[in-house]
Amino acid sequence: MKQPDDQIARWAEYVRTNPDWRKFHNDFINAQFQMHEQFLQRLLKTPGGREKIIELYGIKNLKGYEGLLGPAPAMRS
């Protein structure tokens, strides 16, 4: 969805003139990643969730994500 020009201008002016913009901005960005982590944990609990994550992010180096995905199925006892 296109963000209106006046909205961009109002926020830019706020950023230029109010040093406290960083707190709102940081909270906004951190929240996005927090939601993403929660999403991953929920997806992992669903059938085929592990494989969906691998496909979603195009992960080829599974070893680099064993802490999230667990060991590759062939390596499981």
Binding site: I8, I59, K63, Y65
Partner: protein
């Protein structure tokens, strides 16, 4: 499977923390620039992103291997492979590769070699931008505006350019922006 720890604070968000940690390592090995959307975001643009784009000097396999090992040692991993030789083959073919924190698919650092005179020019004219509060080399604000207005042109990119124009209106060089747009037409659009 362990629960991953969310980093980022009110003082510094997770994207900035990721970018700063990554660039401090790269800085020890080669010249780099952060390009595309992250400058707008680090300058207060009201959006987030999943990836940060970086261009580095073309390196030999040996130098890249040293960089890769340093990144691994500091807790990063490459999505495509854990073999530096294989990752180097991607880069050498002018494709990009993605590094993330180990066990966390996001955020990503999308890394590629400089591929032409325009990338070299961006590296040559790189800047640290105090307004961002980050000790990071960026492509200049003029370069960012020119790319977004002349080459990328999506609604998101045009909004980024508008934000940058407003935030940095006192330092923008319209002559330089025109010059870079001409270079974009020569190297990317012809």
């Amino acid at each position: 499977m362990r629960l991953l720890v969310i980093r980022g604070t009110s003082d510094r968000n997770l994207l900035c923390e990721f970018c700063t940690t990554f660039t401090q390592i790269v800085e020890q090995h080669c010249k780099y620039i952060v390009v595309s959307g992250f400058l707008a975001i680090a300058s207060g643009r009201s959006r987030s992103t999943e990836d940060i784009d970086m261009i580095i000097d073309r390196l030999s396999l040996d130098r890249f291997t040293a960089l890769h090992h340093a990144l691994i040692l500091q807790g990063f991993t490459c999505m495509q492979s854990d073999s530096p030789k294989e990752i180097y083959e991607y880069l050498d073919e002018l494709a990009s590769v993605r590094y993330t924190w180990k066990d966390r698919p996001l955020p990503e650092m999308e890394l590629k070699f400089s591929k032409d005179a325009l990338d070299d020019y961006q590296l040559k004219t790189r800047r640290k931008i105090p307004f961002t509060g980050l000790d990071v080399w960026f492509s200049s604000v003029d370069v960012n505006v020119a790319f977004k207005e002349e080459y990328l042109k999506s609604e998101k990119d045009l909004a980024d350019a508008r934000h940058l124009r407003l935030i940095f209106k006192d330092v923008l060089d319209e002559g330089e922006i025109r010059k870079i747009k001409e270079m974009i037409r020569v190297y990317r659009l012809s």
